[in-house]
């Protein structure tokens, strides 16, 4: 089909594979953008359009002390002569070089509206004017001394420099930013004094480069005129390498210095940027909290991170306020002007916490921003990712070339002058004959030839003699020529010495750097903080409040606001939160702080964690959401045990929470271990620290036998006792030290030997010996027994009876240690019956008794659970 079509179509003389066509077009596009559009040269830090603008202005003589010229005029000149692309892109590039919020050291001195940090656009190029700023002009000095190569422009009618000689390391001073194809660059700006100090330090440490691959030039013969320089070998220039390490360089260059001020953080991260060329620098604007006359607080922002648009920032704050992401703002004003600088005032409500609002501003707005450095620049036309050392080395190498070329040029000029002066001196020695010769010549050309043959002069010398003014014949003038000749010879000698000594050249460079530093150096604008900014965690943004978390039997979880009035004992609140929904009931209730973390242990032996504030807050009557939406448990996995952990690491278990101790009471206890127990009587002791970092998909807390389930997890101090009670009313009381400490994923050891058809219904930690054991049976019989009735045994035995059970009482349902008297019990049956009994009314009996009837349970019903309220 294709071939047929090709034959039919005689118009096509070539067929081209789409892949080739695509590749060819793409690589042309990509490389052109990389090499001649988006990336700066490492030596002068300029992209072609910038270089062309500066060069054009230099050619137009629009220096720092000349009049401003219309930008449109400059753009026209740049476009017509060197840059055959859109005028808008040239004018944008020019304006950017004149924006003091983008450039640390502006290269262009602008007149008129050059745009603002609010993102207001600059005026059209027919309105605004420009001239070179002192920094821009400095970059162009030495350009007319053959210091750099020139190449023909796009139409071959003009020439343009491939790089500027610049004594200012502009790449680092102003940074650069560009998106090419398949790569991009982002280099932060720096402080001139610091960069100069680093360069000087590097030079002082000496050049470690081993001078390979260069051709030595004998300048005393090679350069007689300026044009001789072109014949010198191309590889005569020195490179520069330093022995200094990046951290030694960093003792001078602390970090980026942004024109907008602000603060940068984290020496380690900055070091990474400087060592690898890639990394993140955290920047913050400056904001302070201030008390207003009326006692209210306000936050004043006085500067912004680099490249943050102020108008957008304010809009963002307003939006966050509207969306209620930031609370506590009562007013927001931008009071900035050009005389006093940036001033954004954020008035706070009386009840607002200023520090929290400030943190929220850092977290949610660009008041804190990261600068993602990626220091890519062109080295000999190839894009390279560079570290700071390479950039500085390449800059010194560049300066070596420039200084050598400048001196070669000067040497050429001196040699030419020497030559002429020698001619003039011959003329003055033989002045009468010279005059005679000229007078007797028919015309100037004859005179010249006569001079050349008669006095062995060169054509240049003869011409110079012919051009000589008569006043040179005065006696003093002759002396002047002789003095000049001496001076020239001296200069030649010096220049030759300089050119033959790489060290002297470096010294010249160093002195120039010193000079630049003294002339242009300034204070750092961006503050530097050695430490990291510290992740602003959610906690910094959320007030630390007491809150109540409930989890239902069906796995619905919710968080309820702690009523201001009920900042009393938790038991009381637990009751109120217990409004259950159809077919569901509250299983776990506990009070904790929004900054706490909840550890969920599942029947499958895994543990998951969740920050309390991540649990959605609901009204008291709401159902909540299934916990499976918050943690990565499987659909058939059940949460069996819960602990909360405070930010400081203090562990609280649910019972403690329910029995109504205040947080402070328990936080004193240093828990070291978690004791776990399974349905089949396995116990395990594992150090708490194993659970410090819980992955989002959970950690294995215990390896379980088939069909076994992890049900109880309690914190312990290492010297506690453990009591396990089974359904058949067996119990065992042993020392925690009896259980060997095992790793996180271990299986554990036998806690109690179970008979057939028995299973563990409770594992508890004994905290005080005088506490009671509460047991309740299926049919509603219950009692308290003092714990000293439970003798301590070795673990792993069959244990002793905790209660007497028979057909009348049914098996045990509940066994738990009651360490806080004067409470109420709420006994719930499987069918929803409920009874409340004060714990003080419970009988205290021995172990081997059945207790009394606490609840009358119907024949087809059993006690399901007991809550302490």
């Amino acid at each position: 089909m294709i071939e047929e079509e090709t034959k039919l179509n005689k118009k096509a003389s070539v067929g081209e594979d789409i892949v080739n066509e695509l590749k060819k077009s793409y690589i042309n596009y990509a490389m052109s953008v990389i090499v001649s559009r988006a990336l700066p040269d490492v030596r002068d830090g300029l992209k072609p359009v910038q270089r062309r603008i500066l060069y054009t202005m230099h050619r137009m003589n629009i220096g720092p002390s000349s009049q401003y010229k219309k930008v449109a005029r400059i753009v026209g000149e740049v476009m017509g002569k060197y840059h055959p692309h859109g005028d808008a892109s040239i004018s944008d590039a020019l304006v950017r070089m004149g924006q003091d919020f983008n450039m640390r050291y502006t290269l262009i001195d602008g007149q008129g509206n050059y745009g603002s940090i609010d993102g207001d656009p600059p005026a059209a190029m027919r309105y605004i004017e420009a001239r070179l700023d002192k920094y821009g002009a400095k970059m162009l000095e030495e350009l007319d001394k053959k210091t750099v190569d020139f190449i023909p422009n796009y139409d071959g009618n003009e020439e343009e420099p491939v790089v500027l000689p610049t004594v200012l390391p502009t790449l680092l001073l102003n940074g650069s930013e560009g998106i090419a194809v398949g790569m991009a660059t982002k280099i932060p700006p720096h402080n001139l004094t610091e960069v100069m100090n680093a360069l000087i330090k590097m030079i002082e440490a000496g050049n470690e480069w081993d001078f390979v691959d260069i051709e030595k030039v004998d300048y005393s013969n090679a350069v007689k005129t300026v044009s001789d320089i072109e014949n010198l070998p191309k590889n005569r220039f020195h490179k520069f390498e330093t022995s200094l390490s990046v951290s030694e360089i960093m003792s001078e260059i602390k970090g980026p210095d942004f024109p907008t001020g602000g603060t940068i953080y984290d020496q380690k991260e900055i070091m990474k940027v400087y060592e690898t060329g890639k990394g993140r620098v955290v920047m913050r604007g400056t904001s302070k909290i201030e008390e207003h006359k009326n006692g209210r607080m306000r936050i004043i922002i006085t500067d912004l991170p680099y490249q943050v648009n102020k108008a957008n920032l304010i809009a963002k704050i307003a939006m966050l306020y509207k969306d209620k992401k930031i609370d506590g703002i009562s007013d927001l004003r931008d009071e900035s002007n050009s005389r006093e600088g940036i001033r954004i005032v954020i008035e706070l409500k009386r009840e607002a916490k200023p520090k929290t609002v400030q943190n929220q501003l850092y977290k949610f707005t660009e008041l804190q921003k990261t600068f993602n450095a990626n220091m890519l620049a062109l080295v000999d036309g190839d894009p390279k990712l560079l570290n700071i050392k390479q950039i500085l080395q390449l800059f010194i190498s560049h300066r070596q070339e420039i200084v050598i070329r400048r001196n070669e040029f000067e040497l050429g000029k001196l040699r030419e002058r020497e030559h002429i002066l020698e001619g003039l001196m011959i003329a003055l020695d033989n002045i009468d004959e010279i005059i005679q010769t000229i007078r007797s010549s028919k015309d100037a050309e004859t005179a010249k030839l006569a001079l050349i043959t008669k006095f062995k002069l060169t054509e240049i010398q003869a011409q110079a003699i012919l051009d000589m003014q008569l006043r040179k014949l005065a006696a003093l003038e002759r002396q002047k020529i002789e003095e000049e000749y001496k001076q020239v010879l001296k200069s030649i000698k010096e220049t030759l010495e300089l050119l033959s000594s790489p060290d002297k050249i470096l010294n010249v460079i160093k002195n120039e750097f010193e000079e630049i530093k003294n002339k242009f150096g300034d204070e750092r604008k961006t503050k530097f903080v050695k430490g990291g900014v510290g992740e602003i965690s959610e906690e910094d943004l959320i007030p630390n409040e007491e809150t109540i978390v409930t989890i239902s039997k069906n796995g619905y979880i919710k968080r309820v606001k702690h009523d201001a009035l009920s900042a009393q004992k938790r038991g009381g609140v637990g009751k109120k939160a217990m409004t259950t929904k159809e077919n569901d009931e509250v299983r776990h209730v506990f009070t904790c702080s929004t900054h706490d973390e909840i550890l969920f242990f599942s029947n499958k032996g895994k543990v998951y964690s969740l920050k309390v504030h991540e649990i959605p807050e609901y009204s008291r009557t709401a159902k909540g959401i299934p916990v499976i939406n918050l943690i990565n448990i499987e659909q058939d996995e059940l949460i069996t045990s819960i602990l909360t952990r405070s930010k400081e690491g203090g562990i609280i278990d649910e019972d403690i929470s329910q029995e109504g101790e205040t947080l402070s009471e328990k936080q004193g206890i240093e828990y070291k271990y978690l004791i776990m127990a399974t349905k089949f009587g396995v116990v395990k002791k594992t150090e708490l620290s194993h659970f410090d970092n819980i992955r989002s998909n959970g950690l294995i807390a215990i390896s379980l036998d088939d069909n076994d389930e992890l049900v109880w997890v309690k914190p312990s101090t290492g010297n506690d006792h453990v009591i396990i009670v089974t359904r058949n009313a067996k119990s065992i009381h042993f020392r925690e030290t009896d259980v060997r400490e095992t790793g996180r994923t271990a299986r554990g050891v036998r806690g109690i030997r179970l008979k057939k058809d028995d299973e563990v219904i409770s594992m508890d930690i004994v905290r005080k010996n005088e506490d009671f054991m509460l047991t309740v049976s299926e049919k509603g019989f219950g009692k308290l027994t003092t714990l000293n009735n439970y003798t301590i045994q070795n673990r792993g035995g069959s244990g002793i009876f905790a209660a007497k059970i028979n057909n009348k009482t049914g098996k045990l349902v509940v066994a738990r240690i009651l360490d806080h008297p004067h409470k109420e019990l709420l006994i719930l049956s499987a069918k929803g019956q409920a009874v409340r009994i004060a714990t003080d009314d419970l009988p205290i009996q021995g172990r081997q008794t059945s207790g009394v009837r606490l609840m009358r349970v119907k024949d087809d019903d059993v006690v399901a659970t007991v809550a302490i309220v």
Binding site: I2, L22, Y26, I27, Y29, G156, P626
Partner: protein, 276 residues
Amino acid sequence: MTFLVEHPQDAKSILSRVILANRARTAAKAAREAVVRKGALEGGGLPGKLADCSSKDPSISELYIVEGDSAGGPAKQGRDRHIQAVFPLRGKPINAEKYRLDKVLSNEEMANLIKALGCGVGDMFDIKKLRYNTIVLMADADVDGAHINTLMLTMFYRYLKPIIENGYLYIAQPPLYKVTFGANESYWVKDDEQLQKLLTENKNKKPNIQRFKGLGEMNAEQLWETTMNPETRTLKQVVIEDAEEADKMFDILMGSNVPPRKKFIQANSREADLDI
């Protein structure tokens, strides 16, 4: 609702199906509208930008897709209006590799182009309705021209592939050099061979050779002579030699994954023909 909340994994898979189906629907709808919307616009549903030819016979009709700002005007002025239509592109076309069809068609340039072609797109594509059997990409020989060529090739390859498969897609071959002798004598040269020949023929004159950059450098008559005249022009026909390779290359160069692209650029940087 309760079920979805209690079974988030199931909910996720159900929703992803729904989203997928929705995407397919919007793409189909966009494709349909690109065709159906006709009539709503002036001139029999053809986009106003299209300078159509008078012939209605696809087998002899040609469509020149030109880089708008520089060459649209001269192409319209210089063309043979009986068989040659001109469609000027404004700015850079959307990258078809990175977007789904509905998004591509929401780009006005592309929607207009599809309308101009007449053949529809996606499910509605019908090669029989194609209004031109010769479609020529004509872009400047500079950076942006090269980029536009890659973008247009991507569009045709991804969404109008049968046009390429039928051999209907071509790339114009404008001259590479402009050689001037003295004040009045100038030539447009198509390739290096021709350049050498011209230079040896005119040994005694001083040539001024200019690497040709933009179509806009020519006036209408020159553009016709050098690039559009069916009698004298050269067209490059785009063919797919290895579909697998082509797929891979479009993915590397135009897709959203950067590292392979970077690798390609590094490996081939020396072959580039730079526009400085």
